[in-house]
């Protein structure tokens, strides 16, 4: 058994029972969460690692197939792991309800029960229920001392952390009838469970949130936004990890990298700078094997065998991409991919490039944590985003004005109560998405999406609602909603660019995304490999070694059938 080393961060030396790792996509949440889990297990603790990311790659990192039930990680005694995959959680939840009815109730009814339970709110609730159960202790496996949550990129995670309070408030004030969680009478226990989850999250002795950030201004800005939102939820025990600091560049490009990182660190807000902080240096290669991660926080920069003489492959460039896209100035261009691969910045740069050729474009985003407006330098381009709070309020007003029109004050109050369900936000956001897509019918929309998991849930919801529309009257359904799925599937309307980095996990995840899209009958336009270090002139040994590591992934993408473009590394092209 290892004793805690002097270099261990405070959250490892004195771990709380619940540790959350959060941050923008690609900042290294999973690596930091795994490193902490391995370190604590080695120190003799019983640790459960839980991924709440719908597009989790924890399986790949741990080399173990994960599901809704914890499994042991053979390489690391004391460590078990599970994956709160919302789709699988929803499937189990559905089966619990629908299973017993199969063969007993009419087949048509069983089928439509199944469809009803495939909507966005069921998917969200099923995963959230498991999450709240672990947090409140109800379904926490016996003997586990520390639960480490490796969370989805920020927007999705903030929603998950807000749900206990939202549902427990809703159940408290809702006095009648049914909710999406089931008949109200059966929910007394749930209400207690959610209230307990709220209490655990806000107790600094029980929960700690680790904010993981890259040493970059944009990354710190988002981290600061997250810190504020967590403070609003009463979550106050925080720790900052600055991940991937380049120790000292040896050529102009690397030196710029180092000095910009130093400037970004110096310009953090006082509240962020005042948090307990751990700085982790950049490594040339990804860590191989879970066991190697035990030294992540104390190793310093790993050795590399430089200098490397590396020649990159030839690849279609940024200009080729813009030329291809400009040939049809209508419909929608969507950037999709794992968090942190540069979807937002590429969407903004594509919009700028097309606008500079005189094409009229709108830049849109479906990411609740987007900074698309900041990323776009051309102020004359209209930027459209989905403000979940405003959309939900507008949707509520609209329903009260239409469906509530003939009701007396008490009836309206009843409808209003139903509309205050946290589910309403899902449908409001979905309708806002449909309106954004509709704008592509009149011009060109360049759309930045949320990280993969969140986007796939949105597409699943689109399909579920589309099936539902097939069953019921479509009176009162906006045209934008009716046309949504057909538009997304039409390759002449919708051009999807799958964005990846030349690294193992983003390339694997991009492949999985392409397969998921194929299941929804959506075919992407092409791939972009962003941030290829090998395409830059740097001679810095550490960066050159990193470029050598990337080569195999760059070539793998370029050799795929279909279009692929490569964009060289740029300091400002990461987010």
């Amino acid at each position: 058994m290892e004793k805690p080393a002097a270099a261990d961060p405070a959250f490892v030396a004195t771990p709380r029972p619940n540790i959350f790792f959060t941050g923008k996509g690609g900042v290294g949440k999973t690596t930091c969460a795994c490193a902490t889990a391995v370190r604590l297990a080695r120190a003799g603790r019983s640790v459960l690692l839980v991924s709440t990311d719908p597009a989790s790659n924890l399986d790949e990192v741990l080399g173990v197939s994960l599901g809704l039930v914890p499994v042991s990680v053979p390489e690391v005694p004391g460590l078990s792991a599970m994956n709160l995959d919302p789709e699988r959680a929803a499937a189990e939840y559905r089966e619990r309800i629908v299973g017993p009815a199969r063969g007993v109730l009419p087949e048509s009814l069983v089928r439509s029960m199944d469809e009803q339970l495939s909507g966005a709110c069921t998917v969200e609730i099923a995963a959230f229920d498991l999450f709240a159960g672990i947090l409140a202790g109800e379904t926490r496996p016996a003997g586990v001392e520390v639960v480490i949550f490796d969370t989805a990129p920020t927007g999705h995670t903030l929603r998950l952390l807000k749900l206990p309070a939202a549902w427990s408030g809703f159940l408290e004030s809702n006095t009648t009838g049914n909710t999406c969680l089931g008949p109200l009478q059966g929910l007394k226990e749930k209400q207690e469970l959610y209230a307990e989850a709220v209490r655990v999250l806000a107790d600094p002795e029980l929960s700690e949130v680790i904010l993981v950030s890259r040493p970059q201004a944009a990354s710190f800005r988002e981290t600061e936004r997250t810190r504020r939102e967590l403070a609003d939820l009463g979550i106050c025990r925080l720790h900052l990890i600055v991940n991937g600091l380049l120790p000292g560049g040896t050529d102009p490009m690397a030196a710029t990298w180092t000095s910009r990182a130093a400037a970004a660190v110096a310009c953090m807000t006082p509240s962020l700078a005042g948090l307990p902080r751990t700085t982790v240096p950049l490594n040339a290669s990804a860590f191989h094997g879970i066991a190697a991660l035990g030294g992540f926080f104390s190793n310093g920069t790993a050795d590399f065998s430089g200098p490397v003489h590396y020649e990159p492959p030839l690849a279609p460039s940024w200009d080729d991409l813009v030329n291809d896209l400009a040939s049809d100035p209508h419909g929608m261009i969507m950037t999709m991919g794992k968090g942190g691969v540069g979807k937002t910045i590429l969407a903004a740069k594509i919009a700028e490039a097309l606008a500079s050729r005189g094409i009229s474009v709108v830049l849109a985003t479906t990411d609740p944590a987007s900074h698309a407006a900041e990323a776009c330098a051309n102020r004359s381009i209209e930027v459209v985003s989905i403000d979940a709070v405003a959309e939900t309020a507008a949707y509520r007003d609209e329903v009260l004005a239409s469906a509530g029109a003939g009701l007396d004050p008490e009836g309206r109050a009843l409808l209003d109560e139903d509309l205050r369900s946290p589910c309403t936000e899902e449908i409001a956001v979905f309708r806002a998405f449909a309106r954004i897509v509709e704008r592509g019918a009149a011009g060109l929309v360049v759309c930045d999406t949320a990280p993969t998991g969140h986007t796939l849930l949105l597409l699943d919801a689109t399909q579920a609602y589309h099936r539902e529309l097939g069953r019921q009257t479509t009176i009162g359904v906006p045209e934008s909603v009716l046309q949504l799925l057909p538009r997304l599937r039409d390759p002449a309307f919708n051009r999807i660019l799958i964005v990846t980095l030349p690294e193992a996990t983003p390339v694997h995840e991009a492949g999985a995304l392409e397969r998921d899209l194929a299941r929804a009958a959506i075919r992407p336009y092409g791939w972009i490999v962003n941030q290829a270090l090998g395409l830059t002139p740097t001679r810095d040994p550490l960066l050159r070694a990193k470029a050598g590591q990337e080569d195999r992934w760059l070539r793998e993408v370029l050799s795929r059938p279909g279009r692929a473009y490569a964009v060289p590394w740029r300091e400002d092209y990461l987010y």
Partner: protein, 121 residues
Amino acid sequence: MKTITVFDKPMCCSSGVCGPSVDPALARFADDLRWLAGQGVQVTRHNPAHDATAFMHDPIIREAMKDGGEAVLPVIVVDGEERSRQRYPERGELAAWANLNLASDPATSTQGDCCGKTGCC
């Protein structure tokens, strides 16, 4: 005390606000049930998406679905007797089944079917 049991179509929530479109009839019906409960009627609502066991164990609804399947829903049962299927009845009709006088409620005296079985006209 009168007992009214509603066997709904599979729905997410009782007013349908979380689906792609909101059916005003559902909002109106939820309000009518609230009114009935306020008049002392015992109202129970079963949604197969949450509460399939109620459908599996109730002989009346199983009998109703034997031929028509899901299409017969919603089914309204009053004191153990099926009163309507495939539609959400108006408040006046519900009141009549529950032996309530619609006109006695000032909030609703101007709406509903006042010449129903209550004979209030």
